[in-house]
Amino acid sequence: MTTAIQRPTRPPFYRDVTVLKWVFQIAFLIGIVTVFWLLGTFSIANLAKQNLAVSWDFMARPVGFQVAEGFTTFPESGFEALLVGVTNMLRVTISGILAATILGIIIGVSRLSHNWLVNKLATVYIETIRNIPLLVQIVFWGIVVSIIPDIVVDETSDGSLKSLFGLRLLPEGWIFASPKGFALPWFVPTDGRWQWVGFMIVGAVATRYVYRWRIRLQEAGTAEARAFLWSGGVLLAFAIVGTFAHPVMGIFGPVFGFVAAFFQNTPIIIFQIVLAGLAVGGAYYIIKKRLDELRTPAGLGKLTDDDWFRLVMAAVVALGLALFFLLQSGPVEAIVGQGTIFGQDIGFSQLFTGLENRFSFVGGAPFDFSLPAIDGRFNNYLPDAGHVITRAYFALWIGVVLYTAAFIGEAVRAGVLAVPRGQTEAGFAVGLRRSQLLRMIVLPQAFRIILPPVGNQYLNLAKNTSLGIAVAYPDIVQVGQTIFNQTGQTIPIVISWMAWYSFVSLTLSAIVNRWNKKLKLVER
């Protein structure tokens, strides 16, 4: 008797892997949505019982408080108040990341130094800083500033001011220190700065071309590159020329005006269709890319259940978005600037109107050099004179910078040490000098190892700025807290916080990941 090849029998559905996978994926999705929906409705119901209906109205309403520092100290609405908090947070984050990177590299390299003193100093720095909680350090720096002797008016003489160490100071001086913070001379931006920034953007593009041109010359062997020197020179030239020639950028004013008018006057249905088209097109692109990846020379590879789930989800989300854009004109109007968001008249149209106004202005120097000054009666720094570093800003900034730099330093050290000794030896053996070796062999390899942990430290720094609340730094957390103390709207504020910090963190990690991908070593 011959045995016929048996067709594989389909198992019953409750044992079928494919069915089970789909059921679990969908059940999980439904579960998640349900949990959040229940949490949302319960808390809204509970709050309503206490006469606290969740409402975003405070975003549009005037707030009854003043913010200690920021682009405006008298915000006109809750939205603007939060915006001040956001910009204050970014101010610390961006300058903090720059400073912590530089300091961290110095600390990391110092720890590898053969110079005993430098090495030990770096070790002591790292071991001290990273073993003390950041909150304690921020409070500590706040106290350090607050015990600086105050500036007092010297009644015995002509009303001049006495500052630290009894130095006699005029109402206007170079550097001030007081419990309120520090004030330094600074280039205070004026209305012409926007045109200058536009000029510098052109300059940056030009610099990029010059840099490539020099590298090409080097590769062709006609000249030494000196690419950094050249591109630095070009950028500097643009900065200097731009200081005088920036009104040239005024020609862009009408262009921006035209774009603003376009967003304002085009019928909203066109934007709805475009956005819906973008959603569908995006999904099409994602699906096509995925299918192309799966395609083998023999034809389309077998789609796994996961692939199917991904493709179906992409299509469903895209169609959902497209329908949303087509049926709901409100959000689209808000985005292009024909409607309002939280009662704010913002959107693309307003963005370009703003650019038009700033570029059409034809004025003098983009920056004024200004010395700090003091209001003699109240010992306050005049906000528009020089650059004022408030106590809160300083304490938070120095706290996060010193703290993060310690960790970055360790990452740098680990990265340099992780480059195998053989690489150094091979570099020496072909005759490279120590500096060339460092630049072309060790650092490029160390950088790949350093980048992921340092990216994490950037994220930590961004999130740690929320500790500024300990020294009353008006970031989004402190401002938000003031708002919900007044309005009782805790949930919208907490949602705003979460949305903002997620946005910053995701942006930062996207940048770092992209960079990381570019640097990845090619292995078979």
Partner: protein
């Protein structure tokens, strides 16, 4: 010092802490000579050739390479390193650079050649070691034997007068050993001065002009391959050879 001695070592001694790795090595190598160093591990043979291009610093004695003495003078060290190529046991290719960039890096930055000039010569070298088609790949994409041949090409790119090989086949799969040894034989035939630390007795027998036996930081015995493998004088040499042959 004889006129034609391109490497001249006199009483070279080296310590690692308390451990004396080299106990006074005297060696003259003439131009075009192929010297093979054998010996048990820990006998100081790798340390010795690493002293010749100053990857290790000798503490006593003198080393002259092409009549330049190796001292703390950076200019001497740089001059000698330009003249001495080295191939390592673990290849030590630069993983972040392509094969071509690995080869042309030093000619461009140390010898200040133009990129096109360096690349033309690099292609010629890759041809010579038999892997011209790998120029644009990265080291991680090559087999061990191919990587070691790239390492040889990289060292040759500086057009050195002397080549040092530090156990070039020890990290290779057996079937890849031959392709590397062939490249080295080719090089020896062209008249390159070579010092080779190896355990490949077949190579020593076939290619070497002189075989040196190191033990315990000392040069125990030296001679032609024939003398060495058929009629060793020293007991220690006899013991070593009886264990490996």
């Amino acid at each position: 010092m004889t006129d034609q001695a391109i490497i001249d070592c006199r009483g070279v001694k080296k310590w690692f802490g308390d451990f004396q790795a080299l106990r006074g090595i005297d060696l003259q190598v003439t131009k075009g000579e192929v010297v093979v160093i054998i010996g048990p591990s820990g006998s100081g043979k790798s340390t010795f050739i690493r002293c010749i291009n100053r990857l290790e610093v000798h503490q006593e004695g003198q080393i002259f390479v092409d009549r330049i003495e190796l001292t703390n003078d950076v200019r001497n060290i740089e001059a000698i390193r330009k003249d001495v190529g080295m191939v390592f046991q673990s290849f030590n290719l630069f993983p972040h650079l392509t094969i071509m960039q690995n080869i042309t890096l030093a000619p461009i930055w140390v010898k200040k050649q133009s990129k096109s000039e360096a690349e033309a010569y690099g292609r010629e070298l890759l041809e010579r070691v038999g892997i011209p088609e790998q120029a644009d790949k990265y080291p991680g994409q090559l087999s061990g034997g191919q990587q070691q041949r790239v390492a040889i090409a990289r060292a040759l790119a500086m057009q050195p007068q002397i080549m040092l090989f530090d156990e070039p086949t020890s990290a290779l799969d057996p079937e890849m050993v031959k392709e590397v040894l062939d490249a080295m034989k080719e090089l020896a035939k062209e008249g390159m001065t070579m010092i080779v630390v190896t355990h490949e007795m077949g190579f020593a027998r076939e290619v070497a002009d002189r075989v040196l036996f190191f033990d315990y930081g000392q040069l125990v015995e030296a001679g032609t391959p024939e003398h060495f493998f058929t009629n060793p004088q020293h007991d220690r040499t006899k013991l070593f050879l009886s264990q490996i042959l």
